[in-house]
């Protein structure tokens, strides 16, 4: 690695600080009294100024100085963080970014204008602003920690209650620490295996009210023991003795007696018979939970502290690491194959050990490459904020699942498509406040960004509660533009895919934001480039959902290995729907028409042998692998379906860029290279094939 350019280091650091500043400012708008946020903003400004001066960014330092002075006054309570101040500060933040990225900017006029605005605000004594009406989803309600203790009726499980579901539901409410108490379990000889002997202690930190916790037990509450008590979490130094007394598990005198003997308190109480092991374990878990919560609260307070125990690594080193691990996985699968053939027990056991290590290393490395999607969602808050002002709409942005992790490359490439989708949702989806009130909705529109894991995929959705898509208009417009045959009946999903056609637009007028019909096709292409999918669902009057399905990582996929002639090929398993046999009669019959009847659905199929000009004799029983891309299905006729294969994706060199049937290559267990089929392209080929046949017939 080359010597670090200090200016570059400063730029990177400033980038993060500016983001921190922006977040703090946007939060302040909703919670102007939060001194932590004011401090966070002030600290960011202070560091930008200080380091700026140190690294020769004098313009930045000089400019930031004024903003910092203003925030110093805010910090001291001399002026209030009014909405005007925040707006100016956001403008100032953009100015700082510009100054940092282009230090040679000579035109100081915009900067001076910002500073004048700032001065005007600082000079005028302001009435503190009233925070916007707190909305349940965005303004974070203060969380309470509850102690929930419950045991179910003995016959609860026989009656069909699953305690796991109750616990899962509790977990969805907030941060929960769950401890099962087993002291109620009788000795084996008298135990009824169908009875529920366990009891649970749950320490739950949630913003939801007590009633939400009670609702979890709604159906079983009659026959159970349940206690829900709030816990004071203000001090993180709560000691186990205090907790146990507070829980009523042990008396104060017993604790005092134990403390005086200065051994681990819990152990002593158990020994002396004042306490059972389980109750102690539950108590300790509660202590841990409170500590974690308290330190989390502290961590949130000092946002700058977040990076304290992380290191900065250039992205290409991570790519290199992933590549090495990919090579290791391939070498390891060769070793496993050789070891299995050798019959030497020692070699076999080493091979197994290495397999375990290699897979663990692979998972860890993939984990290192992933980053929480929250870093991406955070960027959109400003976008929504600005668009709301520009369009005169009231918008609330709700984000869910920010902790969901995705490969960093995927996250980077998601930025532009998501910006586009959010803009569309705000511009086309959400109505004006008046329009919303007329429709009987709250004047404040809502955009929900959510992310969650589903198997090897991550689902990202952008939901608005606006007017929804107008089916008829889209269909009419698509027919007008010749994208659809007149009068065809399509499902919502199929029809809405029209929106992704290049040049399609139904907007009544073109705005600065959207309506030009440019972009949705690019969005779809970008998502498909990430091996993802995008679907639209919409309910007229109540909103639209754009659902993106993305693979966890770009580097390794699950594949299905097939053989065509002598060549072996990998199909991405996520695209495979089913495998069927092509019977000899069907094979003979289908020579002319190449359609397959799959449960009364006609599916066109491609003979890969013909496509690849395989010369080796065909297997007697040909197999058909049905693959899908979007709503389209195509059968691929192969000689043999070999099985699953962990596929480390290698890109093809430029020399093969003309070959569109393959999206990449991989290395098999025996060291041979296999090509990965490009499903989207094959489906297109199949469709073209189908329409040719239709035209001919």
């Amino acid at each position: 690695m080359t010597a670090l350019d200090p200016a570059e280091t400063y730029r990177q650091e400033a980038q993060e600080l500016l983001e921190q500043l922006e977040q703090a400012l946007l939060d302040l708008e909703h919670a102007p009294d939060d001194t932590d946020l004011i401090d966070s903003a002030f600290r960011a400004l202070h560091t930008i100024k200080g380091s700026g001066a140190m690294f020769g960014f004098d313009a930045v330092a000089a400019f930031t100085h004024h903003v910092e002075t203003a925030f110093d006054l805010v910090r001291k309570g001399k002026i209030a963080p009014s909405r005007e101040l925040i707006a100016v500060a956001l403008a100032a933040k953009d100015r700082m970014r510009l100054l940092i990225e282009q230090p040679d900017t000579v035109d100081t006029t915009p900067g001076d204008a910002i500073l004048r605005d700032l001065e005007a605000i600082v000079a005028a004594p302001e009435a503190p602003i009233v925070p916007e009406a707190p909305s349940s989803a965005q303004a974070k309600p203060s969380a309470t920690t509850w102690r929930v203790r419950f045991s179910l009726a003995k016959d609860a499980m026989a009656m069909g209650t699953n305690p796991l579901l109750l616990l899962d539901e509790l977990r969805t409410l907030g941060v929960a620490t769950i401890v099962a108490r087993t002291d109620g379990v009788p000795p084996l000889e008298v135990m009824m295996p169908t009875d529920c002997h366990l009891a649970w202690d749950v320490v739950l930190t949630t913003g939801q009210p007590r009633s939400a916790i009670e609702d979890v037990f709604m159906f079983v509450i009659d026959d159970m023991e349940l206690s829900i008590d709030p816990i004071d979490t203000t001090s993180d130094a709560t000691r186990i003795g205090e907790i146990l007394v507070d829980r009523g598990d042990v008396r104060q005198e017993a604790v005092d007696a134990a403390i005086s003997s200065q051994v681990a308190l819990g152990t002593l109480l158990v020994k002396s018979g004042h306490l059972t092991e389980d109750k102690l374990a539950a108590g300790l878990a509660e202590q841990q939970h409170i500590r974690v919560e308290a330190s989390a609260a502290k961590g949130a307070a000092k946002a700058a502290g977040q990076g304290a125990d992380s290191i900065r690594v250039p992205a290409e080193r991570l790519d290199e690491l992933m590549e090495r691990v990919g090579e290791l996985v391939i070498a390891q699968s060769r070793l496993t194959q050789v070891a299995a053939a050798s019959g030497d027990m020692d070699v076999k056991s080493i091979a197994e050990e290495i397999e375990r290590l290699a897979l663990a290393l692979r998972d860890t490395t993939m984990g290192v490459r992933t980053v929480p999607i929250g870093s991406l969602f955070g960027r959109f808050r400003r976008l929504v904020h600005d668009l709301a002002h520009e369009l005169g709409k009231q918008i609330e942005l709700v984000t869910i699942g920010e902790e969901t992790e995705l490969d960093k490359t995927v996250i980077e490439r998601l930025n532009d498509p998501l910006i586009h989708l959010i803009r569309n949702a705000i511009d086309h989806g959400l109505e004006t406040p008046e329009g919303r009130e007329a429709a009987g909705k709250s004047p404040r529109g809502r955009i929900t960004l959510s992310a969650r894991h589903a198997g090897a995929e991550v689902l990202v959705s952008i939901v608005d509660d606006g007017r929804g898509l107008d089916r008829n208009r889209i269909q009419a417009r698509a027919e007008e533009q010749g994208l659809l045959a007149p009068g065809v009946k399509l499902s919502d999903g199929e029809l809405f895919q029209v929106l992704f056609q290049p040049g399609f637009s139904t907007a009544r007028e073109v705005t600065s934001l959207s309506g030009r019909g440019v972009g949705m096709d690019v969005v779809k292409r970008t998502i498909e480039g990430l091996r993802g999918k995008i679907d639209i669902a919409s309910t007229p009057g109540s909103g639209t959902e754009m659902a993106l399905r993305l693979p966890l990582t770009l580097a390794i996929i699950d594949g299905l290995l097939v053989r065509v002639g002598t060549g072996r090929y990998v199909l991405p398993l996520s695209a495979v729907e089913e495998c069927v046999e092509l019977s000899v009669e069907e094979d003979a019959r289908s020579r002319g028409r190449s359609f397959l009847n799959i449960r009364d659905d006609l599916v066109p199929f491609l003979r890969l042998r013909e496509l690849f000009q395989a010369s080796a004799p065909a297997d007697r029983y040909q197999k058909v692998v049905i693959v899908s891309s979007g709503d389209l299905r195509v059968g691929l006729v192969v000689d043999q379906v070999i099985g699953n294969h962990q596929t480390v994706i290698k890109s093809l060199s430029k020399l093969h860029s003309g070959v569109e049937t393959f999206s990449g290559a991989t290395i098999l267990g025996d060291g041979a290279v296999a090509l990965i089929l490009d499903i989207a392209h094959l489906v297109e080929l199949g469709m073209a094939h189908e329409s040719r046949l239709k035209a001919a017939g």
Binding site: F612, K654, L655, H656, T661, A665, V673, L675
Partner: protein, 170 residues
């Protein structure tokens, strides 16, 4: 006097293709491998229709015999794959080259290098960088960048994006 290579001698790897001796500048060569299993890429250009595994990397395999109108005979015990690092239209890439036989790495003195004759050549002159004399034999030094840039763009001649050797010297 040879007008290029600064009057220094040229280090080359000599290889055999259908009995002819060709040479590659040694600076391109990464390694020489025994024949490994080759995966065919259906519907690709015949000249680069193979892929091989070079220690965990997927590398395209080129058969120069097709560029020189030679017959593709089955591999023998002498068949080798020369792995080279070459700029394809300005981007560095790793490519394998099929060779019927690999001889040696040798120095060709600057005085023994001659520019490609305009006529009397059996091969396309743009694929050839220069001719070296060694005793009574001639060594044909290949211009690999030119060969591969054409293979990837399929257009003549390569754009001026990177330096190409000047054959018509002053």
């Amino acid at each position: 006097m040879s007008p290029w290579n600064g009057g220094r001698s040229l280090e080359v790897l000599t290889l055999g293709l259908e009995g002819e001796i060709f040479a590659l500048e040694a600076t391109y060569v990464r390694e020489i491998l025994d024949l490994t299993p080759i995966t065919e890429v259906p519907n690709s250009e015949p000249f680069v229709n193979g892929l091989i595994n070079v220690r965990g990397k997927v590398v395209p395999l080129a058969d120069l015999r097709l560029k020189f109108g030679m017959e593709q005979k089955p591999p023998t015990i002498d068949t080798r794959i020369i792995v080279i690092e070459v700029a394809i239209d300005g981007n560095p890439a790793i490519v394998g080259i099929h060779a019927d036989k690999v001889y040696e790495i040798t120095q060709v003195a600057a005085s023994a290098l001659e520019e490609t004759p305009r006529i009397g050549m059996r091969w396309r002159p743009d694929y050839i960088r220069c001719i070296g004399k060694r005793g009574a034999d001639f060594i044909v030094v290949l211009d690999v960048e030119r060969i591969f840039s054409m293979a990837s763009s399929r257009e003549e001649p390569p754009s001026a994006g990177y330096p190409s050797p000047q054959l018509s010297a002053a």
